[in-house]
């Protein structure tokens, strides 16, 4: 029988075999087997390995949520703060010791609902924090309620007749806040994540990574692996991420093009 434990073991095995293992903590991620977060984990770990950053000089800051558990699955220093407050804490960490590389990670509830008031400000202050928004359009840890990015009609226990509110577009929001680096990515493409992260870490200011991902346990309809794979695609070859107006147009015209959407000229 293919038990959950078996599936998970396979998954971990695969990651281990990839050979870039060091930034992973010894304890296994407690995410559900098949969760998109494993892909982000791999993408970020590979970024760290490839940049050769010393683990003791990295701080991974998070709020609360399945995504928020990330620091426990990483061998960097970690700061698992309260729900929604990863960005203020990350601001403090970075300003206190600018030598540290700071990653902030969190879910869409953490970052767009309770913590939604902080994003405009870290962006306008252009604090050199790399923020990975794990956007699965659901509240995973609290067992499946709609999030600010859930599409209209999302049915959950908390919305048995379907949601009625328009979803928020995190990429568009980050652009409108004047973020200096904005990328849109997909958990099913860890390589793409690694590439964009490497570029973003080098951006000497706030870098925002809007990562589409899936909650295999609580979302069987919308952001499924199947859908996301079908919907997402790379930005066109001639795309120029230095042009803010073009970035806005791209995001207004296409919800699923992936890559570095905007990068302020320095």
């Amino acid at each position: 029988m293919k038990t959950p434990a078996r599936i998970l073991a396979d998954q971990v095995n695969r990651i281990q075999k990839s050979g870039r293992f060091s930034p992973r903590s010894a304890s296994l991620p407690t995410w559900c087997p098949g969760c998109g977060y494993f892909g982000i984990h791999q993408g970020l770990n590979d970024c760290i390995s490839r940049l050769g950053l010393p683990l003791a000089e990295i701080v991974t800051v998070s709020g609360i949520g399945c995504a928020g558990r990330y620091p426990f699955f990483s061998n960097t220093y970690g700061l698992h703060t309260v729900h929604g407050r990863a960005l203020p804490a990350a601001t403090g960490v970075k300003l206190a010791n600018p030598n540290l590389t700071v990653f902030a990670v969190g879910g869409d509830g953490d970052g767009l609902a309770i913590g939604g008031g902080h994003l405009p400000h870290i962006a306008r202050r252009n604090i050199d924090v790399n923020y990975l928004l794990f956007d699965n359009s659901i509240y995973g840890l609290t067992k499946g309620q709609p999030s600010p990015s859930s599409p209209i009609g999302t049915k959950t226990k908390a919305s048995p007749y379907g949601t009625v509110d328009k979803p928020l577009n995190a990429t568009l929001m980050a652009l409108s806040y004047g973020a200096s680096f904005v990328a849109r990515l997909f958990a099913g493409d860890p390589k793409g994540i690694t590439e964009a992260l490497i570029e973003g870490v080098r951006n000497p200011g706030f870098s925002f990574f809007h990562i589409y991902t899936t909650c295999v346990t609580f979302d069987k309809n919308f952001k499924t692996w199947t859908h996301l794979k079908e919907w997402t695609h790379a930005l066109s070859q001639d795309y120029n991420p230095n042009d803010l107006r073009r970035a806005f147009n791209e995001v207004l015209n296409d919800d699923f093009s992936l890559g570095v959407i905007f990068k302020r000229d320095i």
Binding site: M1, T3, P4, A5, L8, T30, W31, C32, P33, I64, C66, R69, V82, H83, G84, G109, A113, I114, G116, Y139, G140, L141, T142, K143, Q145, P146, P148, K157, A158, S159, P160, Y161, T217
Partner: protein, 590 residues
């Protein structure tokens, strides 16, 4: 008929149908005429690794606390169930899957950790289910069948509750599930024919139709609906989420609406806005969310706007222990927030009170125009009781709003300083009563005014009002109280059941012990509490927190030092722990 007091646990992984099996036991036993108190716990939050445990205590008399020792354990996953072994009573019955879906090594087997003397019943749960239904999903039901057979429970009780549970899914599903149960039942009858017991005698009176099996969360949701709740604003948080989910499902058909807000601050903000505009509304949260609400709660105090806030406590501080129970937000509920911001805080002690207190909270909020905080905790929210339960009539849930007299039109003073401190409150839409509600200190009319005289006067008015509210707040209830108690035990919230059971047992041992139940935590009936303390040679306050938060509140009422019994285990206090402490104190007294 022998007295029944039997505790059964089901333990498995998430996905094993553990919670469902426990629920069916509760329902079946309730139908059989027994008293039931059930409680589920799920330690891990992230799925895929979760151990689920249900605990059902079944008795022929009233059950007020959770069972401490388990008389039967149904293991759906042996690796997980090992953790339950220490809680087994002597000679308990252990049901396990003799051919489990996942291989469990010898070292991790359940049997290897069982204390000697337990009676074990191995059954191929999965195979039996496959045989009955073609799928192993009914493993939990075959296990129940085994349990029913061995314990001598009327199988029709189970068949009925299984039918009820699956009714909405159609006859086919119902039959498959009953068949799974029967497969287990038959198997066990035959296989264990020489070891069958008769644990659950048929109770002659049978099922009391007024007995409803209800969790604290359901009672709270029902109460809100029966109170005519118009708007629920909330943000998911364990263990309060089920209230939102219950209301999301049932409130719309009663004309209300659930709005999942962006956080707890906006939730309480919207609750205040709705009450200001005249609609009953509420929010429910837990400690971390409650902390975020305190600024606006004090706004309700100052601007005299009603609000109903339920704090379903969990382990703290901070994010703490989200799925564990604790009574450690009392300090914050009574004292949190800036300024002299007295508000009303009440705490039910059982499922029935959850229902009645929530209805009352709307009325108190309306009459006293102030936030009312209802404190529950995970153990109370998530526990199931099957007590006779009468829903409130419309009259009993009627509005307690106090509206201004038409005579005051065009010269209305929103914050008129009346003898009770209650100022009639106008609602938007009422012509000629326009006013601005404000969190700034203000005159009777409502204009900002920071003068010394005004602040002194209005502070007095607001506190007078809260003192006055005492007359509508339930008095502490005395149990077994005589003029001279050797030990008086004071309990609150989910813990009171354990207090009561401990006191009863101590009395059976011949000791002069009494109990006081405090449900009105702020303002509180200091005279009654004082009198009880005075009557008791020793006063004991058992609480599920480290700091002794109720003890801190009332310690000054008597010159004797209060004895504290604090548990910070994330689990209900076992009655025996209280009983032991009582009897230790008695030795000292003696």
């Amino acid at each position: 008929m022998p007295e029944v007091d039997f505790t059964v646990e089901v333990c498995g992984m998430a996905g094993d149908g553990t919670i469902a099996a426990g629920g069916l036991i509760n329902e079946a036993m309730s139908l059989g005429g027994f008293s039931v108190l059930g409680f589920d716990s799920y330690p891990a939050e992230i799925r895929g690794f979760g151990r689920c445990v249900t605990n059902s205590r079944i008795g022929s008399n009233d059950i007020v606390a959770l069972g401490e020792k388990t008389h039967a354990l149904i293991s759906l996953n042996d690796e997980q169930s090992r953790s339950r072994a220490p809680f087994l009573a002597e000679h308990s019955l252990v049901f396990f899957d003799s051919n489990p879906p996942a291989y469990v090594s010898e070292d991790n087997s359940l049997l290897s950790v069982l204390p000697p003397g337990e009676e074990v019943f191995g059954m191929p749960f999965g195979e039996l289910a496959v045989g009955a239904s073609g799928s192993s999903r009914g493993r939990n039901l075959t296990a129940l069948g085994g349990f029913a057979a061995v314990t001598g429970t009327d199988p029709n009780l189970f068949r009925k509750v299984i039918r009820d549970k699956f009714k909405s899914k159609g006859e086919k599903v119902v039959n498959i599930n009953v068949k799974s149960f029967d497969a287990g039942y038959q198997y066990a009858l035959e296989k264990f024919s020489d070891r069958l017991k008769s644990v659950f005698p048929k109770i002659e009176t049978g099922h009391d139709p007024q007995k409803v099996t209800l969790s604290g969360n359901q009672a709270i949701g029902m109460a809100a609906i029966d109170a005519g709740l118009k708007l629920y604003f909330g943000y998911p948080i364990t263990p309060a989420t089920p209230i939102m989910e219950y209301l999301a499902k049932y409130l719309p058909e009663h004309g209300g609406r659930v709005v999942q807000m962006e956080d707890e601050i906006s939730s309480i903000g919207a609750v205040l806005g709705s009450f200001y505009a005249g609609a009953r509304s509420m929010t429910a949260t837990s400690g971390p969310g409650f902390a975020l609400m305190t600024e606006l709660i004090t706004h309700g105090v100052m601007a005299e706007i009603p609000a109903v806030i339920l704090d379903a406590q969990r382990g703290g501080p901070a994010t703490g222990l989200p799925t564990k129970t604790e009574q450690s937000d009392l300090h914050a509920a009574v004292f949190g927030g800036p300024g002299d911001s007295a508000r009303i805080v009440i705490a039910p002690t059982n499922v029935e009170e959850c229902y009645h207190f929530v209805i009352r909270s709307f009325q108190l909020a309306e009459k006293y125009q102030t936030p009312v905080i209802v404190l529950t905790d995970f153990f109370l929210d998530n526990r199931v009781e099957n007590r006779p339960f009468i829903r409130a009539s419309e009259g009993q849930a009627a509005s307690w709003n106090v509206f201004p007299d038409d005579a005051f039109k065009d010269r209305y003073q929103r914050y008129a300083d009346t003898p009770s401190g209650i100022s009639p409150r106008a609602l938007p839409g009422m012509q000629g009563f326009n006013f601005t509600a404000t969190g700034l200190e203000h005159t009777e009319k409502g204009s900002p005014d920071y003068s010394s005289e005004n602040h002194a006067k209005m502070s007095e008015k607001r506190h007078r009002k809260i003192r006055y509210a005492l007359k509508d707040l339930e008095k502490p209830a005395e149990f077994f109280v005589s003029d001279n108690l050797d030990v008086g035990v004071i309990g609150w919230g989910s813990t009171f059941g354990s207090v009561l059971e401990a006191v009863e047992k101590s009395r059976k041992n011949g000791f002069k012990v009494g109990a006081l139940k405090i449900t009105s935590l702020f303002p509180y009936h200091s005279e009654t509490i004082k009198a009880f303390m005075a009557k008791s040679r020793r006063v004991l306050v058992p609480e599920l927190n480290y700091e002794g938060q109720l003890a801190n509140l009332i310690a000054h009422l008597d010159s004797k030092p209060v004895e504290r019994l604090n548990f910070v285990t994330g689990a209900p206090i076992p009655p025996s722990a209280i009983q032991n402490r009582i009897e230790e104190l008695l030795e000292v007294v003696a």
